[in-house]
């Protein structure tokens, strides 16, 4: 039985990605353990009492080592880890013991998704529309938009976040500087609560959104200007095709690389959250990972980086498949058996 070129392409991809995942799992397990700090040292630093002495310290230390199986050989720890991973169990946090890593991630992930997905999608859409408009309209609109977009696309996004905090939270006090909802509240299904979530959401959202709009607008503008100068546009104009239709053609053609970019940034989302969340103390995956690294909390670091790896792999895989389907050049290569 021979596989169709497209299925062969798919199978090969799946194979490569599985291998990558395994290597990622291995690195993920090993890297945190190569550092000099031991998580139990971290736990022990928090223990203290007036009568505590060396013997008491050692006794307690030993009991923690056993509890976390750190006395087992490292190969055994690795296979236990992979076995548990396949069952969807990411283990127990060292420093937040007895919390499970799954619980910690489930608590944090929604905040990250709720912050990043709307910022990415809206930023992408608005950026592309503005970029296309600027390219098409030129004139005053372009002259106003271009430097602004250039500014937003070139300022590092953590700097921009800090500027937002300083101006709107500290100086003007229009928005809260940190957290995800008011200190005076517990989560509840109430207008007050959702209102509070919204005001806390504004600055971190803007810090991501504006920068993305800038970047996308610049990219789209130059792509569109390039497309506007191509032969097919001239030809279409000569044929007397309506302006609206031409703009649509141009827009669609300029879109392809932008789309790849979007898919990639959706994949990198979890990692990208890190600095925004640290600046705004936004309780998502980024902040969780940051804290875990500071505390050498291996299971949580592994859980977060694994999530990151999975997202990036999934996004890349998605793009590979999508491009395989969309791009005529790749399609041709598949048929020739080269890809």
């Amino acid at each position: 039985m021979t596989l169709s070129p497209r299925s062969r392409y798919m199978f090969r991809r799946v194979g490569w990605y599985s291998l990558t995942l395994f290597v990622a799992l291995f690195l993920n397990f090993m890297l945190p353990r190569l550092g000099p700090a031991n998580p139990i040292d971290t736990i022990m630093t928090k223990l203290s009492s007036p009568g505590m002495d060396s013997q008491a310290y050692l006794r307690i230390y030993k009991s923690y080592v056993q509890e976390f199986s750190l006395d087992k050989p490292i190969s055994m720890q690795f296979f236990t880890y992979v076995g548990k991973f396949l069952k969807g169990d990411l283990g127990v946090s060292f420093t937040k013991y007895p919390l499970r890593v799954n619980e910690i991630i489930v608590n944090a992930l929604p905040w990250t998704l709720a912050l990043q997905i709307p910022a990415l999608l809206l930023g992408w859409i608005v950026g592309n529309v503005l970029g296309a408009l600027a390219a098409y309209k030129r004139g005053l609109f372009d002259k106003g938009l271009y430097p602004l977009a250039l500014f937003f696309s070139s300022i590092p996004y953590f700097c921009f976040a800090i500027v937002l905090v300083f101006v709107f939270a500290i100086q003007l006090q229009w928005f809260p500087a940190m957290g995800a909802y008011g200190n005076d509240m517990l989560p509840s299904f109430s207008f007050a609560f959702f209102g509070s979530v919204l005001t806390h959401y504004t600055l971190p959202f803007l810090s991501l959104f504006l920068i993305l709009v800038g970047g996308q607008a610049i990219g789209m503008r130059s792509m569109a200007i390039y497309e506007l100068g191509t032969d097919y546009v001239g030809y279409a104009k000569m044929l007397g095709i309506g302006e609206g239709t031409i703009v649509r053609y141009v827009f669609r053609n300029a879109m392809l690389p932008q789309l790849t970019g979007l898919a990639l940034s959706l994949g990198m989302m979890v990692g990208g959250a890190l600095i925004t969340e640290i600046v705004f103390s936004y309780p998502g995956i980024g902040l969780t990972l940051f804290t875990a690294i500071r505390e050498s909390d291996y299971p949580v670091i592994q859980g977060c980086t694994l999530l990151l790896t999975l997202c990036v792999l999934a996004a890349n895989f998605g793009i590979d498949i999508l491009i395989g389907i969309l791009d005529p050049r790749i399609k041709a290569a598949q048929e020739a058996g080269n890809a």
């Binding site: 000099p36 002495d53 013997q55 709307p118 789309l259 309780p283």
Partner: protein, 593 residues
């Protein structure tokens, strides 16, 4: 049209986005702890916001866990209470569950307050107290080592308990620590955990089982507050209106209905929240506090040193290796450091002038301090003197002006370490290093990740390192401070853990003084023994004291509450309204009109 731009495609994207958001909300609601609370918004004028005691997400509220969340730790008398509360201003123990105590030879008798009760109204009895101490004896808890100083505990009356002091490790100071830091827990809650289905378990296994009890839904304490709700960044306590101890305060209630502990990732965020009035009390390092006074932020003193000095960060030295095994070298180092600069630059003036020795020359320890001794034996910043000491001891300087030891060998390059990110400490270490280099000691500063620094410290792997021996005040001060740098009781070689005296100082005279002091009961004898110990410290320099630091950085915002205790109105000690005897200030606060 391109397949990606079909209209229904766009709408399906929107649908999936909405689905994700809704799922996210649902997941997040499920992730937050919510018991049967009916209040989800806390009125500002009834809520006291505190910070600086809990830095990460709370994990367990079980006081038998080594690291329970705030306020279940040690002597935070909000949910669980101790027998007595230590007052850092007077050095006295004030009654909480305990009414009075008396120390007779080998026994400490404690009478309980007859009103003491659990929050469910049942009386708190001698049995509960004995049970609490027994459980620390039976299992390897974080307070287990208290039993080194106790031989037993028994009931000697309806309301009286006798603590029998250990004959082998007789220590009058530590037993007072013990009764002021052990939270009393209800027997009826903890005994079933310990006994049910544990017949075949070892004591360590039983302890693990007890530790698994998170105690996070309405813990039954005896204190004025109980746990109401918590999330990763917040712990909410609610007042128990029927608190038995209100009798101690003319039957009034504590002022705040809610106490909320917020946690942020770093000091800057705490300081910002305090300045904006989102935090009422903060126990964090706040640079240039005087610049925040006009924003309603206050401290204990309105002028320098702003805080009450209480603990003594030191430069420890790895005493087992040259050049630190030479007392002349250590003394020269002590003369080389500019303490005034440390106070002004690193500490923003939050310290009175440093006096020689290891006893606080003010407050409760003042009677034990001898000014004459300090003048005679103490070290002060004097580079010339440092060089003279070295010269007398046979040291010389090479062409590169680096130090050469009496046997003619160049002294190796030394490291001075502290945890990285502790900016005030980093500055202190840099100032010390500059001074040491000035007398020809080749020393470099290195800032390490906290767990690594801590590990090296305990294993004795350092040359100079900054550290606060006994970073709190307790009835056993100043004895325990000396014990933590001079005692070789648990001496272990470099590479093995020592939980105290990490510099590995060894001196028979110091050991016998440290052993003898806790047995003394005559005030004059205690005073003389402390003088002697302090003289020995100044002559031997087992550690170089660098500054005085507050026990708690007690700073508060008057934006929403007023009548905090201060030096002008010191009705309670600056212990953040919750530690030891500081808790009584909660009854004196008033909401700001």
């Amino acid at each position: 049209m391109h397949p990606l731009f079909k209209e229904n495609d766009t709408s399906s994207r929107i649908v999936s986005l909405v689905t994700i958001l809704v799922t996210a909300c649902a997941l997040f609601m499920a992730g937050c702890s919510s018991g049967d609370q009916d209040v989800t918004r806390f009125p500002r004028n009834q809520t006291l916001y505190v910070g600086g005691f809990q830095w990460g997400p709370p994990t367990t509220f079980n006081p038998l866990d080594g690291i329970p969340a705030w306020p279940m730790t040690g002597n935070m008398n909000l949910v669980y209470e101790t027998l007595f509360g230590y007052n850092q201003l007077t050095g006295q123990l004030e009654g909480i569950i305990g009414k009075e105590y008396r120390l007779e030879d080998t026994s400490l008798y404690v009478t309980l307050n007859e009103n003491a009760a659990w929050q469910d109204g049942t009386p708190l009895t001698v049995d509960d107290v004995i049970y609490t101490f027994q459980i620390h004896k039976n299992y390897n808890t974080h307070l287990h080592s208290h039993w080194k100083y106790l031989d037993g505990i028994r009931k000697t009356g309806d309301n009286e308990i006798e603590f029998i002091l250990s004959k082998e490790n007789y220590n009058r100071f530590i037993v007072l620590d013990i009764i002021s830091v052990t939270p009393i827990i209800p027997k009826k809650v903890f005994e079933p955990l310990e006994t049910k289905g544990t017949e075949d378990m070892s004591s360590d296994q039983i302890l693990t089982k007890i530790r698994k009890f998170r105690n996070d839904s309405l813990p039954l304490g005896s204190g004025p507050y109980t746990l109401y709700a918590y999330s990763d960044r917040k712990i909410v306590l609610k007042r128990v209106d029927s608190y038995w101890g209100n009798v101690l305060y003319e039957a009034r209630q504590a002022a705040p209905t809610y106490i909320i502990h917020l946690s942020f990732t770093d000091n800057d965020k705490f300081n910002l929240a305090l300045q904006q009035g989102d935090l009422d009390i903060s126990q964090t390092f706040c640079p240039q506090i005087w610049n925040k006074f006009n924003k309603g932020v206050k401290t204990w003193y309105p002028e320098q040193p702003y805080y009450v000095p209480a603990i003594i960060p030191c430069l420890l030295m790895g005493m087992t290796k040259a050049p630190f095994d030479d007392v002349a070298f250590r003394r020269a180092c002590a003369h080389a450091i500019d303490y005034e600069k440390i106070k002004i630059v690193a500490m923003y003036g939050y310290s009175p002038d440093l006096q020689p020795g290891f006893i606080l020359p003010f407050g409760a320890e003042k009677p034990y301090y001898s000014t004459e001794d300090a003048e005679k034996y103490g070290a002060a910043f004097n580079t010339q003197k440092a060089r003279e000491i070295l010269k007398e001891a046979g040291y010389s300087w090479g062409e590169d002006s680096l130090l050469i030891d009496p046997s003619g060998n160049k002294i190796r390059t030394l490291n001075a370490t502290c945890p990285s990110g502790w900016t005030d400490w980093e500055t202190t270490v840099k100032i010390a290093v500059t001074g040491l280099r000035d007398i020809g000691v080749d020393v470099r500063e290195r800032f390490l990740e906290y767990p690594i620094w801590d590990k090296n410290l305990k294993n004795g792997l350092f040359d100079f390192t900054m550290r606060t021996p006994h970073p709190e005040l307790s009835p056993s001060c100043p004895w325990i401070r000396f014990e933590k740098v001079m005692s070789s009781r648990h001496w272990a070689p470099v590479g093995q853990v020592m939980y105290e005296n990490e510099g590995r100082y060894k001196n028979a005279a110091a050991d016998s003084l440290l052993l003898a002091l806790p047995e003394l009961s005559d005030d004059a004898a205690i005073k003389e023994a402390y003088h002697e110990l302090n003289r020995l410290f100044m002559q031997e320099m087992p550690a170089i004291p660098l500054m005085y630091r507050p026990w708690h950085f007690y700073q508060f915002s008057t934006k929403h509450w007023e009548n905090f205790p201060t030096s002008d109105d010191p009705y309670a000690p600056p212990q953040c309204l919750m530690v030891g005897a500081g808790v009584k200030a909660l009854w004196q606060l008033d909401p700001q009109k």
